[in-house]
Amino acid sequence: MALQGTRRQLGDVTIVDFSGKITLGEGSAMLRNTVRELINSGNKKILLSLYDVDYIDSSGIGELVSAYTTVKNASGELKLLHLTKRVHDILQITRLFTVFDVQSEEGAAIRSFKS
């Protein structure tokens, strides 16, 4: 299934609920464009909810890393929420758990952003 993203705003935190695959091609491009649009429109607290993302390949991982550095370079924060087991396992074996702030509960995730 192609990647789809729905945006929600809770205070100054933008949550994007993704569903589908983050893979080479449309999925990776969609993630890249979404994060760029958010940064360009001044959103600097971004929470990517991956509850319905059960597949990510090396291109998608690269895009997540790119999103992280894009937001960080704009003095923002990007966090991940609700990882599926497969995405969790991939981030673990690639040691990216040490890079990303991964959250499992939305309320706590929102509170964890710097005020």
């Binding site: 390949d57 090396s58 497969r86």
Partner: protein, 152 residues
């Protein structure tokens, strides 16, 4: 006596769609070979990464070039080979994606994933100099001559 080896050869175009096609073919073979669902997923993903490598880095998205994929079921192993028409590379030239200084790189994890998801992974030079990726996964149970799993 060993069961007969079965082999599928596919000539893939250097197109994005070939990545999904190769993954799908390898997963169907893995399913038919009796791998459990999670292993089928890992095999599919390793093959996906192999063909992404051929598409992006080997053939550099040149549509004139082809990608040859071979899926072989031997009595004890499933072997997938992916051959491109690029310049080839040595595994030792590839930066370790787990090294602290490489964690924020946006590429370079495909080979690592192939190695992680398969039992054996190596890279050789193809006959025309391209990269020849060889991925091996041990079958869940050896298959006997009549196509049935041998008892443990």
């Amino acid at each position: 006596m060993a069961a007969k080896t079965q082999r599928i050869e596919v000539m893939l175009e250097t197109l994005l769609e070939s990545v999904d096609l190769a993954e799908s073919i390898s997963m169907r073979v893995a399913e038919a070979a009796g791998f459990p669902e999670e292993e089928v997923h890992k095999i599919g993903m390793a093959v996906r990464e192999g063909v992404i490598n051929a598409y992006n880095y080997g053939n550099q998205q040149d549509r004139q070039k082809k990608i040859m994929m071979t899926v072989e079921l031997q009595p004890d192993n499933m072997i997938v080979r992916v051959l491109d028409q690029g310049k080839g590379f040595e595994l030792t030239e590839i930066p370790d994606p787990l090294a602290e200084e490489n964690l924020l790189r946006t590429s370079g994890r495909g080979l690592f994933l192939m190695r992680a998801f398969m039992d054996d992974f190596r890279v050789e030079r193809g006959p025309e100099g391209g990269a020849h990726l060889i991925m091996v996964k041990k079958l869940p149970q050896p298959v006997s001559d009549n196509g049935k799993h041998k008892p443990e």
